[in-house]
């Protein structure tokens, strides 16, 4: 069994934030008073400066994810938000506002992993094959990355998982990415090769990542709407994609979904795991 669990609401917001900061470089980032939203805000400023990504495009990621989360009975927030609500919510670290940030959440998720040939003896459900699995890491501190918004380790993990699964990102039907902040979804969809560098924001605004879009991203509502119980997020993504591959996703079902990709990361992209799942 692979199980993930996180209990975050038993401590104060400040204590939870302090705990989360352990995923940054405590000595050379958090030491100066930089917070997690602050680190991702700096990534956003870099992406906006170099590629022209707009404040509206960031908001549209949150709008889409909340729109999807309405239909997810496991989601923490099942309410729509508008672009105006996102862009007028409390500023946390310029330009990121509270509705750009995934919440503090309690949650757990589990998966039973068995040899593929034995799967039918464990469950009547259609077995889901783990076709590709890879992990990659990068420097802990944001300022030591070669390119602060490239998420190079996501690209590395994605390529190796695809190689193992003998396919490429064009073959993927549905995706879950680690949208700890709206800018993260934009950067990671680019890093995984779904969109060209700098085009992830426009893709979100144009509906390319909607349930009926070219490449549906976070049909579960993502971390933003579904919630982000840190240790459980990775397996919850696998669960949400398994539902898609079994045709059990209801209103957010992607037609004929046969291959899915989950990307989970730590910190500001210091470590990534990419999982590729196939319906059998």
């Amino acid at each position: 069994m692979a199980i993930g669990v996180e209990k975050m609401t038993d401590v104060s917001g400040g204590a939870a934030t302090y705990g989360l900061a352990a995923a940054s470089d405590r000595d050379w980032e958090a030491f100066h008073g930089v917070t997690f939203p602050g680190l991702y805000a700096m990534i956003a400023v870099d992406h906006m400066h170099r590629y022209g990504t707009t404040r509206e495009q960031l908001a549209d990621v949150a709008v889409k994810n909340h729109f999807n989360g309405v239909h997810n009975e496991y989601a923490q927030f099942r309410s729509k938000v508008t672009r105006e609500q996102v862009m007028s919510s409390t500023m946390v670290a310029d330009p990121l506002r509270i509705l750009d940030c995934s919440p503090i959440t309690d949650g757990a998720a589990a998966a039973i992993v068995v040899p593929l040939g034995d799967a039918k003896s464990f469950s009547k459900q259609r077995p889901i094959k783990i076709a590709g699995l890879a992990a990659a890491s990068d420097s802990l501190a944001l300022h030591q990355r070669k390119d602060m918004c490239a998420f190079a380790a996501a690209t590395e993990a994605g390529e190796r998982a695809c190689k193992m699964a003998k396919l490429n990102t064009r073959d993927i039907d549905v995706v879950e990415v680690h949208d700890c902040f709206t800018i993260a979804e934009i950067c990671v969809t680019e890093a995984l090769g779904f969109f060209e560098r700098g085009h992830g924001g426009k893709a979100a605004s144009d509906g390319a990542t909607a349930v009926d879009g070219k490449i549906p991203v976070n049909t579960s509502g993502g971390l933003k709407s579904k919630g982000h119980p840190v240790g459980a997020t990775g397996i919850s993504q696998v669960f949400m994609l398994a539902r898609q591959l079994r045709g059990q996703a209801g209103p957010v079902q992607v037609k004929n979904a046969r291959r899915a990709l989950a990307q989970n990361m730590g910190g500001t992209g210091a470590s990534h795991v990419v999982t590729i799942l196939e319906a059998t």
Partner: protein
């Protein structure tokens, strides 16, 4: 940060001492034992320049614990003149002066402290040059 940790890192934190790999020339800040570019363990001391430019920044409006009385405050990634990057606060300026490419210089400042009677931790903050 423990007192011992803080004391041992004085050269890096107070004097901006970095390590230059004698084999491939890469400058590491803070200094490392093994070069992440070529794997060598031979280093010589290098001092960092105090001037550079802001490559990205933000304004922290929800401060972490210990920094509440400074909130809101700006932070950024500074690229020093020799290419080395570090993070620090950006101070002594209005938030609307902040922009990518802003020329800055580093100044020795108090960064944080361990409560009312504990260690005071110093380092550098960037000010517009």
């Amino acid at each position: 940060m423990s007192t011992a940790n803080s004391w041992r890192e004085i050269p890096q934190r107070y004097r901006l001492e970095a390590g230059r790999c004698t084999k491939c020339g890469k400058i590491h800040y803070p200094p490392r034992r093994i070069c992440d570019q070529c794997g060598s363990r031979e280093f010589e001391q290098a001092k960092l320049p105090y001037t550079g430019k802001l490559v990205t920044y933000t304004v922290i409006r929800v401060a972490p614990s210990g920094f509440e009385d400074e909130s809101p405050f700006a932070v950024g990634v500074v690229e020093l003149d020799n290419g080395v990057r570090l993070q620090c606060q950006v101070v002594d300026c209005d938030f609307d002066q902040l922009k990518v490419g802003l020329p800055v210089k580093l100044e020795f400042r108090r960064i944080q402290q361990d409560g009312e009677a504990g260690m005071i931790h110093y380092g550098h903050k960037a000010v517009p040059a």
